[in-house]
């Protein structure tokens, strides 16, 4: 690697790290809550950190500790947790066209959370090929570290922190919807997309209000995709008739 290539690699890596900053607000706040919940459920700080390091999937981690705390059967804990994580199956193939030929990509998929996926889907296509791998490493690594650090903070001193700065702990999670909003805003570039995206947001919102937060993401997205396909075919047929 020449010095020019090395400096481009480093610049892209730090750009990825900087792009991870908007994730920190949500990640640290949620991970802090996870650390607290894990301790209350009878896990040690070390176990909570291990769970965040190796499972690294928000909703399923909460379910994991809650089900253990209630004494659910082992097979049910594993099956339910994996069912929630199944949505990750479609993330990688959406990003794969932007991946450069390199053996590291599949290993880096450990860092492919909902938020990292959303960020990568909108940013990777704007980067040059040589920048994509270091950018993704910077983004995924710093997001992962913030999740682990947040868990450690919550497990070790979470109750003290939330007692002293309650507003900070309550406001920080808003960083996640704000980030999704910013990532989605440029996609409202046609009538069809605006309609389908708005419908998907509203459907997911309603399902969450009705008490189905985990089913909301895949079901709302699949419903949106079906509507998109129906509208696409209708427009094609209309074009053929005209």
């Amino acid at each position: 690697m020449s010095s020019e290539q090395r400096s481009e690699w480093q610049a892209a890596f730090w750009q990825g790290a900087r792009d991870a900053i908007p994730l920190f607000g949500g990640y640290i706040a949620v991970a802090l809550s996870f650390g607290l919940v894990a301790i209350q459920a009878g896990f040690s700080s070390f176990e909570a950190i291990l769970i965040s390091t190796f499972i690294y999937a928000g909703a399923s981690q909460f379910l994991f500790v809650a089900m253990f705390a209630t004494g659910a059967p082992l097979w049910l804990i594993i099956a339910t947790t994996l069912l929630i994580n199944a949505r990750h199956i479609v993330y990688g193939p959406n990003l794969a066209p932007y991946f450069t030929p390199h053996r590291a990509w599949p290993w880096l998929m450990h860092g492919l959370t909902d938020q990292v996926f959303a960020m990568a889907l909108t940013q990777l296509e704007q980067l040059r090929e040589a920048q994509r791998l270091p950018w993704f490493i910077g983004l995924a690594l710093f997001a992962w570290l913030s999740w682990i650090a947040g868990t450690a903070l919550g497990a070790i001193g979470g109750s003290e922190l939330t007692k002293h700065w309650p507003l900070l702990a309550e406001a920080m999670p808003f960083a996640l919807p704000a980030l999704f909003l910013v990532l989605l805003a440029p996609r409202f570039n046609s009538g069809r997309w605006a309609l389908v995206l708005s419908g998907t947001v509203v459907l997911a919102l309603i399902m969450k209000v009705l008490g189905y937060p985990n089913a909301a993401i895949p079901l709302a997205a699949i419903s949106g995709a079906i509507c998109f396909q129906v509208m696409h075919r209708y427009q094609l047929r209309k074009g053929a008739e005209a």
Binding site: A86, H88, P97, W105, M109, A175, L181, T200, L205, A216
Partner: protein, 111 residues
């Protein structure tokens, strides 16, 4: 750590990683040798549509405050509007998110 916790942790961590990595390996093999434009074009339409829609669904879920109260709903609405306004102005990632969180906190403080 009990055997049950350790066993479940290993199985879930491994299976979650495989769910994230195997589809990438499969598609990378399928797309090998194609140019950047062809790679994007050759993924099925339903799959390329599903990506942005997953983000939309995550947005919908994350917009519901916990607990669902009028005050937090108002803070969410104001935070979302401020985020969008700053995005129209700056067209960047960091500032709109920062402004959204600050406005959300201000509304919570005022209520």
């Amino acid at each position: 750590m009990t055997f049950d916790v350790g066993f479940a942790l290993v199985v879930i961590a491994l299976a979650t990683f495989l769910m994230r990595a195997i589809p990438v390996i499969w598609l990378q093999r399928r797309l090998r040798g194609q140019s950047d434009e062809h790679r994007v074009d050759s993924i099925p339409t339903w799959l390329s549509v599903l990506g942005p829609l997953m983000i939309a669904a995550m947005l919908g879920v994350s917009l519901v405050p916990e607990p669902l109260t009028l005050g937090l709903s108002l803070a969410t609405l104001v935070g979302a509007l401020v985020t969008l306004l700053v995005w129209f102005w700056r067209k960047s990632l960091g500032w709109p998110v920062f402004a959204g969180v600050v406005s959300y906190a201000v509304v919570m403080l005022l209520l």
